[in-house]
Amino acid sequence: MEPISLTGTVLLLPLASALVIMLFHGLLKNVAHLVSTGVSIIMFGCALIFLGAEDQPNGLLLYEYLKVGTFTADIGFVVDTQSRGMLFIVTFIGMLVHIYSLGYMKDDDARARYFGALSLFMFSMNGIVLADNLVMMFIFWELVGVSSYLLIGHWFKKPEAADAAKKAFLTNRVGDFGFMAGILILFGLTGHVSIAQLQGSMESGALNHIRDNYEWIITLAGLGLFLGAMGKSAQAPLHVWLPDAMEGPTPVSALIHAATMVAAGVYMLVRVYFIIGASHVTGDIIAWIGGITALMAALMATQQSDIKKILAYSTLSQLGYMVMAVGLGGPKEGMFHLYTHAFFKAMLFLGSGAVIYACHHEQNIWKMGGLYKKMPVTFWTFAIGTAALMGVPLMAGFWSKEGILAVAYPEHGHGNGILFGMAVLTATLTAFYMTRLVVVAFFGKARGKDADHAHEAPLVMILPLVVLAFPSVLAGYHFLAEPLQALVPNHHEGAGAKVVMGCSLVAVIVGFLAATRLYRNADKDPVNIPLFANKFYIDEFYAGLVKYGQDRFAWLVTALERIFVDGLTVRLPAALASGLGSWMRGLQSGSLQAYTFVLGLGIVVVVYLAVFFSTKP
């Protein structure tokens, strides 16, 4: 198949599926899940063929949406290593999550709605991956937000779920504002929104004048785009929505809030790396925010007791890693970690889903325990995922984490000692909390009735776990990564490489030993750090800020509204309008005499304007 028809299929098929399911919701109640899953399998097939597609430096144009003057907004596709690899990940995990959901959502009343939203998500995510210009990316960026909103709030009757959906949506608006501002600045500077053309004008030196004299504009554009990425990829301080988003169904958490959508921010940053790289300030800010997010989220994760929350904070932490890598001048390292992380984190989430399913929707790890015997497959896959995430040597996560640490190492061009330290500390903490999770949930004795009666999940849910176990181990090796079009970073040589390797190994061992010692046979958490458990009180801080600020702000707004909105812009025009209206009603008396009079007056005015009032407008 031609690349254009492949990409067109990948983009439009899930849209069709979503539309059909949503329009004929009632009719398709019992087949919607099959439609959606079938579509996801076809998409995966297309993505596999697409892996062999040739690079298209100028993109493929599907449809010219808007063209006014120099401004063009097209629906066009970019075909390069990055988009091929990302499309593979998205469709692969998407397909597995669809299959998994067949089991997980079997008894849900609104299964059709769920699968419709899942298809919508696949459509939007594919759009982001394939977008060859920023406007198209922004449109799909928003669509992803909408489908995420729908899926987080799938159980909208639960107030927490509804609130979480709203929170995710609103927090992302802050980021989107930045994204849009960034796009507008870039358009203003270059007159392009297409990524290839932007890169062209950046590299051809057309902007040298601006870069030399007004570097802050480019910095501002880069930061605007980064703000968008911060919203989607949940970087501090916009990270607050991601843990709450765990109220959504677990397969959704695996697909959207671990493997694909939250990675879109990183993906976008790598796409526009030429802008970030153009300004040191942007890179530094990005690196620091990534580093802080990584460390802070890891600290929070050590004190959570909800199995999904732990994984959510772990996701935050790993996203911070990727963002830091991009900021430090290692977009390839960031993308590579994204690639390996997607597999094992999706598997961990799906595994946690199996546990939750088995324990009758019990999510507290302190009420689990001893599950390794009852759910052997889940346990072994979960253990592999944990090992990969911790960075145990020879697992997928080891290679990509290694790459990021190497970028942060001071010997590297942009490296930074403090960030390197933070990264190593994060790695230690990662090993610690993941070991804690496995030890508490799977070993020891059952601490709850539900855990006691747990049994292995059905085959459709086990199958994706097993399938994902393979790339979790192997994805870091060139023989698999290269054909799958992952962006594999160059191997770092030199004296630093040994230090990095050593630090990374020590981190894993220290974290693992500390957690095993502390948590073996523990019935309740022996460590209690309220600051971490309460997520640094950031939510409370925001709530207080909102509440404190809100009262004053509300007062101000009320005053302003009374005067300006209510008075000047509503009452006054309303009064004017009704005044004019009644004046016109007076004219509009129905009397022909009056009409003729008005007409005559109009003629006088127009003739006057024509003859005597002939200044140029």
Binding site: V598, L599, A610, P617
Partner: protein
């Protein structure tokens, strides 16, 4: 095949149908179907591009350019829609025309189906006319036919009143136009627009008489398109006239006015013209005032038909502003083409509203906005169609109406008329308010125990409704559909 023969053919068809109506006692519906068939054939000729050119000897009076062909097609589609609407509205017409409506079935309907053909011929000639006399004769053919159509329901006081008002004010405005034309002829000695343009570009001496002529002509045409303050006849006439005629007036008559305005303004604004400044000035002031007054006055309306009347005034304002923005190179369209595009988007959404209004009226429901309550529930398809049309009238993105407004607003930006940009935006914002009030009514609970209105539509109406709604949505995402027809 010369396009002139299309007009002659349609005119002949109209005459034949009149004779058939008066001599034979065929079912009146057949007359309507014959008219529809003729129009469809003409449309096919235009769309297929089989309409060729005219002999050189006619070039001074009659041109065939893309704009002319576009407006010819536009006239045919508007006429088709009007006749389909009339079929829907026939019971009401019959009730107010026949001496004994309970005894006869179709008395007085024949002319109602054949008169629009004459209007169509007039509009088609007008689209090509580039000579003052040709323009005038074509305009009169349209206007006189409309006098009859507006007052058609002779047993309805409202229709008669509307007819008298339209006749007297229309005659006044025609007088103005001709007076202006005679001054122009007197000063330049030219009747063809190209001749006038040449004279205007090389004018020496006092320009006041020319400006006087220009003012009079613009005033006369402003009446035809319903620009403030010459809009004064519109609400009463629109409300009183039979609904299909109202629709025809607000689309057909308006388009006719604008095609003439496009040609004449194009002549006045020819490079180097002495009258360019004042003409732009007048267009902008009239346009701005029209946008503001049309939108503001629409807010207070409770009658849907009257509301559409004010809405049509407001839309005329945008069209006038569009005509004033002549440096639209960035849009790859001329100002006339921007206006034509706007009209083309205006046609489907207006006809959807009027189609539903006609069907409602034919089933005995009122024309108030309140009587639409519950339509969305009782008949979801019609409710949705109406909601889409109204959203498009308001200019919601992804509808045709948005694209029309977008180009006009873009044109003001290119031209740097920021005052009028602000006015256009304010007008659009106001529009959202009153159009969505109607949408709200469509989707709110009906008063009392009733289930909401359940109008019936004939097959033709259903088809045209579907086509129009599809057009609104398709043009909303693919404006080039119309742009390609315009800009060859």
């Amino acid at each position: 095949m010369s396009p002139l023969s299309l007009e002659l053919g349609l005119g002949l068809l109209g005459l034949v149908l009149l004779l058939v109506e008066s001599f034979a006692s065929v079912p009146r519906k057949l007359i309507a179907y014959a008219a529809i068939g003729g129009l469809l054939a003409a449309l096919a000729v235009i769309v297929s591009g089989a309409a060729g050119s005219v002999p050189d000897s006619l070039k001074e009076f009659y041109v065939v350019d893309p704009l002319a062909l576009f407006y010819k097609g536009f006239a045919i589609i508007a006429t088709l829609a009007t006749i389909i609407l009339s079929l829907e509205y026939a019971p009401i017409i019959h009730q107010f025309v026949a001496t004994h409506p309970e005894r006869t079935k179709e008395a007085g309907l024949g002319e109602f189906y054949s008169l629009p053909l004459f209007v169509c011929v007039g509009m088609m000639v007008m689209a090509s006319a580039v000579d003052l006399i040709t323009i005038f004769v074509a305009l009169e053919l349209v206007t006189v036919s409309f006098y009859v159509l507006v007052a058609f329901m002779r047993r309805s006081a409202a229709s008669l009143e509307a007819g008298v008002k339209y006749l007297i004010l229309g005659a006044l405005s025609t007088g103005l136009l001709v007076y202006g034309m005679s001054w122009l002829y007197g000063m330049t000695g030219e009747l063809s627009l190209s001749g006038v343009a040449y004279k205007l570009a090389h004018w020496e001496g006092n320009s006041a008489p020319i400006l006087f002529a220009v003012g009079l002509m613009l005033a006369g045409l402003a009446f035809k398109v319903g620009a403030v303050p010459f809009h004064i006849w519109i609400p009463d006439v629109y409300q009183g006239a039979p609904t299909p005629v109202t629709a025809f007036l607000s689309v057909g008559s308006k388009a006719a006015g604008f095609v003439v305005l496009t040609r004449i303004v194009g002549t006045f604004l020819t490079p180097g013209s002495v009258v360019a400044g004042p003409v732009i000035q007048i267009l902008l002031i009239l346009g701005g005032a029209t946008i503001l007054l049309g939108n503001l006055a629409a807010i207070a309306q409770t009658n849907f038909k009257r509301l559409l009347g004010y809405s049509s005034i407001a839309h005329a304002g945008y069209l006038l502003v569009a005509l004033a923005c002549i440096h639209t190179g960035g849009l790859k369209m001329t100002s006339g083409e921007v206006a034509a595009f706007y009209l083309a988007t205006y046609l489907p959404m207006t006809f959807v509203c009027f189609l539903i209004l006609s069907a409602m009226r034919a089933k005995g429901y009122g024309e108030d906005i309140a009587s639409l309550k519950g339509l969305g529930r009782a008949n979801p398809t019609l409710g949705l169609a109406l909601a889409i049309a109204l959203a498009s009238l308001a200019g919601l993105p992804l509808t045709a109406g948005f694209m029309g407004k977008f180009f006009v607003i873009f044109a003001t930006v290119l031209e740097g008329y920021y005052t009028y940009l602000a006015i256009a935006v304010i007008g659009a914002a106001t529009g959202f308010f009153y159009y969505f009030k109607v949408i709200l009514a469509v989707y709110s609970k009906p008063d009392g125990p009733s289930e909401g209105p359940t109008p019936d539509l004939g097959l033709l109406s259903k088809v045209s409704l579907a086509v129009f709604v599809a057009a609104i949505l398709v043009v909303g995402v693919y404006p080039d559909l119309i742009r390609f027809a315009l800009v060859k």
